[in-house]
Point group: none
Chain length 216, copies 2
DNA sequence: ATCAGCATGGGGTATTCACCCCATATAAAT
DNA sequence: ATTTATATGGGGTGAATACCCCATGCTGAT
């Protein structure tokens, strides 16, 4: 029994390349292609594929959204993300959306095939660089470990200020605690935010908790 | 530069087989073998391997314990579990112990090599059936779905608003998301703060993370 | 029928925040 | 010796926040 596959990518050339690559394998049959999320949803309904190979960058809506919608309507279909994105955010969101695999486009063809086969068997293939992120998440969300490192470019003073910021103190309170001017606290806060690419105290709190700088 | 590998398994035959299998590859060099956890620890200290292939069932103590001890002393070495066990408990414990990969003994030789190479590059290879378990853990520990427990006096709507607040969104963004006026968002926020006796968005974020309403 | 709770919003105000400008002093790095 | 990074602070601006006032519907329980 061949795995019935639906290709979703907005570039026809990419789809053709994948078709060439995958149809050489005996156990994969490409039953359809889609260039947009809407087409993907329609094709999923029509063709009932076993596995969908899903790009994230689609013209109408993201492959993440498309995955979420397809999985909501057809939970049985396994969806493998094939994308240029290798950052944690897309990866985790794709998992939450229900993906059964995540493969960067730079991966070797065999890895894509492994992912498709794993998905067809109800299992999950994660590219090693992605698996690493998930394990890291697993470890930090485990109450066992102590988060010693992972503190970026922050100076000692900035780190100290961040601790107070994350506790919910305002500039004046922090200034009093550190015996400096509120203006200096504000300055440190600006530098911290710039370094970490955060833009509000709420985000600072989350960051600090995630990094184990303070306890929730 | 070849990957310097240490084999740990209590069966000499298995070690020999692995040696045959792996030394055929150009990029792997087996620099030692160990049949017990104690030998493994000693060899790790002596040989400073890049990667250790670790069985879990060892005569003196478990490969999980051995992994934990080796990682404590030599954090740089990457340890790949190669075992007959495919249940969640061993798998998760091995991850907590610091493993960079998990491969069942029934896996194909190429998968073992993939795992070794990933580990040598600081990444993580998880066999698909194991990756599935980790993703499932990720999803259940995700507070994205309705966290109906542990929520005190908050109404459904307030709880919904709190979720967005804790994500760091401002009133306008939340209003857009919930299709209500920013003024209503502000009203809900006031009620939430009053009910919980909190007085800033930063405190709301902490509260939400502590209660598991959002993930840090 | 009334009342409490909930969700919805409009107004206002003082404070804080986020983000710019600027400067000075010290210490480490080149 | 000059640059670079760090820590310190002052000024200013527009936006957002935290906290009040008020009101209108709608539900469900008494």
């Amino acid at each position: 029994m061949k795995t019935r596959l639906l290709l979703v990518d907005d570039h026809a050339v990419v789809r053709s390349g994948l078709r060439m690559l995958l149809e050489n394998e005996g156990d994969v049959e490409i039953i359809g292609e889609a260039g947009t999320a809407a087409e993907a949803l329609a094709s999923a309904a029509d063709l009932k594929p076993d596995v969908i190979l899903m790009d994230i960058g689609l013209p109408d809506k993201s492959g993440i959204e498309a995955t979420r919608e397809i999985k909501a309507q057809f939970p049985a279909v396994a969806i493998v993300a094939l994308t240029i994105h290798e950052d944690e955010e897309y990866f985790f969101k794709m998992l939450e959306a229900g993906a059964s695999g995540y493969v960067p486009k730079r991966a070797a063809p065999e890895e894509l095939l492994t992912a498709i086969r794993a998905a067809a068997h109800g299992e999950v293939y994660l590219y090693p660089s992605m698996a690493k992120l998930l394990v890291r998440d697993f470890l930090v969300s485990e109450p066992t470990d102590k988060n010693l490192s992972s503190r970026k470019d922050l100076t000692d003073r900035e780190h100290e200020v961040l601790t107070h910021l994350a506790e919910g103190e305002n500039n004046e309170e922090i200034a009093k605690a550190l015996v400096i001017s509120p203006k200096t606290v504000a300055r440190h806060r600006e530098n911290i935010m710039h370094k970490l690419n955060l833009h509000s105290r709420a985000e600072l709190v989350r960051y600090a908790i995630r990094k184990g700088i303070i306890k929730a």
